[in-house]
């Protein structure tokens, strides 16, 4: 066990030595990787911010449930009971037909209805949900349409649906970008390790002659790839933070002009850790592929 630790410590020291031994190369690789990774990381952050902005501006979207005009007070209270039993419901409000007519008259449209002998408007409930998930909206409205004496259910979630679709599209784009640029990062590491193996050729041969096992020879390259990836991840994180800081003031001004209060938020701890670990993982993969390809023939 202590032997195993010692061998890893030695491999880490060797990898760090190689990174420090060519500072310019290390810096350039970290910058290339970091800039590549900052694009999907920044994209993800942007979507996250848009989603939270949308949540803040819209309030909660509502569903209007209209009863048929023949429905009485008993029917309305039956519906009320059903609404109370609905777990996804945040709140609801009963709008009696007289109140609806009053509202209409106040807007000046009352004259249009003046010729009618009876109030043509139905009783209605205005319902708001705990979620913005369009699927829940659809399911619930379909369900409520089937309730007795419900004439019509109107969703005002159309824009929510569109926003969700757009955010979903954005997330797919960010994922694709992450995949593509992650692949590029693997290739960069693959090539760096290939050059490393070339320059360490004598050391590798001599070590083999002195009884070095394959894992002993490979270990420093894995650490090198992982650490190099990690540096790239840190650069990406730095780039994203720079972007957030540069955009924070203009975004706040823009939000203010719409009468909204909104602060751009940077990546939090779990996201930051994930970015750095993901980058380290990609570096490790590049090292693994390179070592397989270039050390097997020896």
């Amino acid at each position: 066990m202590s032997n195993w630790l010692y061998l890893h410590r030695r491999a880490i020291a060797q990898a760090l030595g190689r990174l420090a031994g060519q500072p310019l190369g290390t810096l350039l690789s970290a910058l290339v990787m970091g800039i590549a990774l900052s694009l999907p990381a920044g994209g993800y952050l942007l979507l996250d911010n848009i989603a939270s902005l949308a949540r803040g501006v819209s309030g909660t979207p509502e569903i209007s449930v209209f009863l048929d005009t023949g429905a009485g007070a008993a029917d309305a209270s039956a519906i009320e009971k059903r609404l109370k039993a609905e777990p996804q419901l945040a709140s609801f409000r009963f709008v009696p037909r007289d109140e609806a007519l009053g509202q209409l008259e106040r807007t000046g449209l009352g004259d249009v209805l003046g010729g009618l002998s009876a109030n043509p408007l139905p009783d209605a409930f205005v319902v708001s949900l705990r979620t913005e998930d369009p699927a829940v909206f659809e399911a619930l409205s379909a369900q409520m349409k089937a309730w007795p004496r419900v004439a019509h259910v109107q969703l005002d979630s159309g824009w929510v649906k569109r926003l969700h679709a757009l955010l979903g599209l954005g997330r797919s784009a960010v994922l694709m970008l992450a995949g593509l640029l992650g692949f590029a990062l693997v290739i960069v590491t693959f090539n760096t390790i290939r050059l490393q193996i070339l320059t360490q050729r004598t050391e590798i041969q001599v070590s083999r002659l002195l009884g070095a096992t394959d894992p002993f020879i490979r270990r420093p390259f894995y650490w090198f790839g992982g650490l190099q990836g990690m540096l790239g991840g840190l650069v990406a994180l730095g780039a994203v933070w720079l972007g957030v800081m540069a955009l924070a003031a203009p975004v706040a001004t823009l939000a203010e002009s719409y009468g909204a209060v909104f602060a751009l938020s940077g990546p939090r701890w779990p996201e930051s850790t994930a970015i750095v670990l993901f980058a380290a993982f990609l570096g490790w993969v590049g090292a693994e592929l390179s070592v397989r390809r270039h050390l097997a023939t020896d």
């Binding site: 010692y6 001599v206 070590s207 002659l209 002993f216």
Partner: protein, 219 residues
């Protein structure tokens, strides 16, 4: 014990470097392998640490058949041998001390004890106190001593050297030869190839002579 039984080596190009080579070396022997350039000396020596594999016959080291050793067992075989071959170059990017340390680093030897062992090995080859120097600053003979120190730092019971005195001036060559003779007197089995068997003559070693891949003389 090093045992060769009817060993043949034919290289990929079709060239037969060794044919029907049989001999036995017992513990503690000093054996000098001679022969002209191209006779097959290096090929024979490379069969022992399984750098090359024989195309026929068997090579046994301390009872272990190394000609059919699985690839992953080869490093452990080499750790028990002291090798000074043409491939045993020094690493010029690190100090003499770190060069001699390499075999111990490979086995994950505890650093404290490793330091003592390196100092002892350098002492044995007459380079005590010069661990901090870089190999590039050393003479050819001194570089060869570093390679020898690296070969013995694991305290192997068998030492194999391929023309360790080649490219050295006569004085340095005699000093290197003397080192191998002293290791042998300390009980190490030594198998050394050379152009110039007279370097070892006064120790009256056993002699193996190769000519065109055939063992022509076994004394």
């Amino acid at each position: 014990m090093i045992v060769f039984e009817e060993v043949a080596k034919r290289y990929a190009g079709g060239y037969t470097a060794l044919a029907g080579v049989s001999f036995e070396i017992r513990h503690g022997e000093l054996v000098v392998l001679s022969g002209h350039s191209g006779a097959g000396k290096s090929t024979l020596l490379k069969l022992i640490p399984a750098i090359e594999r024989p195309t026929a016959g068997t090579v046994r080291i301390n009872g272990q058949d190394v000609s059919r050793l699985p690839k992953r067992a080869v490093p452990y075989l080499r750790r028990n041998l002291g090798l000074v071959l043409q491939e045993s170059r020094l690493l010029f990017d690190r100090s003499v001390f770190d060069n001699v340390m390499l075999p111990l680093a490979i086995t994950g030897h505890p650093p404290g004890d490793a330091t003592k062992r390196v100092a002892a090995a350098l002492d044995k080859v007459g380079l005590s106190g010069r661990g901090k120097e870089m190999p590039i600053g050393l003479s050819g003979g001194e570089q060869q001593r570093v390679a020898i120190a690296r070969a013995i730092v694991n305290r192997p019971s068998i030492l194999i050297a391929d023309e360790p005195t080649a490219h050295l001036d006569p004085d340095s060559a005699a000093e290197i030869a003397a080192l191998f003779k002293s290791f042998n007197r300390a009980g190490v089995t030594v198998l050394v190839s050379t152009h110039d068997a007279s370097l070892f003559a006064e120790s009256q070693p056993r002699r193996l002579t190769l000519a065109k891949g055939l063992l022509t003389e076994t004394v």
